[in-house]
């Protein structure tokens, strides 16, 4: 909470504080686990659990690929148009959602990171990256979008004390692992069907009578 609220709250609450005294004061709940530290938003994995997933002995990459082994990549113009349109639709949906709540969406300007939309509510900065998805590019788009929004959060956090990252995608990812991974990294993952409810639940849209 903001400093001035904390100070005011302390001033009002202090005269009302009464120490909690119970017969169980020294009790330690058995069901509370030994905390596993969360480092940089990730839970460390135990080596004996991860070992089977680490594969086999390293295979050296071929640094001398022959010209015939290069693959040329062509972009399908129709797919590109579809992707750009979906991206714009996601971006406009979020912008309208914000504007309807009286929040001004921001676009990058000057030295800003190249985010899609950012905004601020109650002193917290939110930065969002949009990604269109198709069956063929879903994995790559999610990797790209997550990397981008993590970098934008990092860059904005140099200037603002609390910055939250949001990845907006065209539909629910096929693999549940993406939701879990984003949770671990403290990144909100949303898509059109859940965007309003999720953002409201995480108080990114300001007040709602409760």
């Amino acid at each position: 909470m903001p400093d001035e609220v904390a100070e005011r709250l302390a001033a009002i609450a202090r005269p009302r504080l009464r120490p909690i005294i119970t017969s169980a004061n020294n009790q330690v709940l058995q069901e509370i686990p030994i905390p596993t530290p969360v480092l940089n938003g990730q839970t460390p994995h135990l080596s004996h659990q991860a070992a089977p997933l680490l594969g086999q002995a390293y295979r050296h990459g071929n640094e001398q690929l022959a010209p015939t082994e290069y693959k040329e990549v062509f972009r399908d113009p129709e797919q590109q148009v579809r992707g750009n349109r979906a991206h714009a639709q996601l971006q406009n949906q979020l912008a309208h959602l914000l504007e309807n709540r009286g929040i001004a969406p921001k676009s990058p300007y000057g030295e800003s990171p190249n985010f899609d939309i950012a905004w601020q509510v109650d002193g917290i900065v939110y930065v969002a990256e949009m990604k269109s998805l198709t069956r063929d590019n879903e994995e790559m788009q999610l990797r790209l979008g997550l990397g981008q929004v993590l970098m934008y959060r990092h860059l904005l956090a140099q200037h603002y004390p609390i910055v939250r990252a949001i990845l907006v995608v065209e539909h629910e990812p096929t693999s549940r692992a993406w939701q879990n991974h984003c949770d671990e990294l403290d990144v909100l993952l949303v898509w059109p069907q859940v965007i309003e409810e999720t953002l409201q639940t995480h108080q990114t849209l300001g007040p709602l009578p409760y």
Partner: protein
């Protein structure tokens, strides 16, 4: 966007009375419990203070009240066995009752607290 520079590390955790009863918990289980720490958890550190806000629930938002003051006694940690859908938790030790509780009307009428939405109007969330 300059007002983002004045955030404290004192927290408000809110519970819904349909799912939890702080007085009953303390009476039967003691002063230490663990709460979900879904977001902003990287900012939560041991010894930081946390106010416990009871939402109005079925009685209505006007019945919301700050009931207690506690303290984090751990950093956030993951416990997938406890709840795979909400695995991140933080341990809190309840230290003091706020008596009488600070009710919404009092908070709403205060010049400072009255413009802070989680306290003045309420938000459907658990961590502020």
């Amino acid at each position: 966007m300059n007002d983002a520079t004045n955030q404290s590390h004192i927290w408000i955790f809110q519970y819904h009375p349909d799912g939890y009863d702080l007085t009953d918990f303390v009476a039967h289980e003691g002063q230490q419990d663990h709460w979900p720490a879904k977001h902003q958890r990287s900012l939560m550190q041991p010894n930081q203070l946390v106010y416990i806000l009871r939402a109005g629930g079925r009685e209505g938002g006007s019945k919301a009240r700050l009931e207690a003051l506690g303290r984090f006694v751990s950093a956030a940690y993951a416990n997938y066995e406890f709840d795979a859908t909400e695995p991140f938790r933080i341990n809190i030790r309840y230290e003091s009752w706020i008596e009488p509780p600070l009710d919404r009307e009092t908070m709403r009428s205060d010049l400072v607290l009255g413009v802070y939405h989680p306290l003045s109007t309420g938000l459907q969330a658990t961590i502020f």
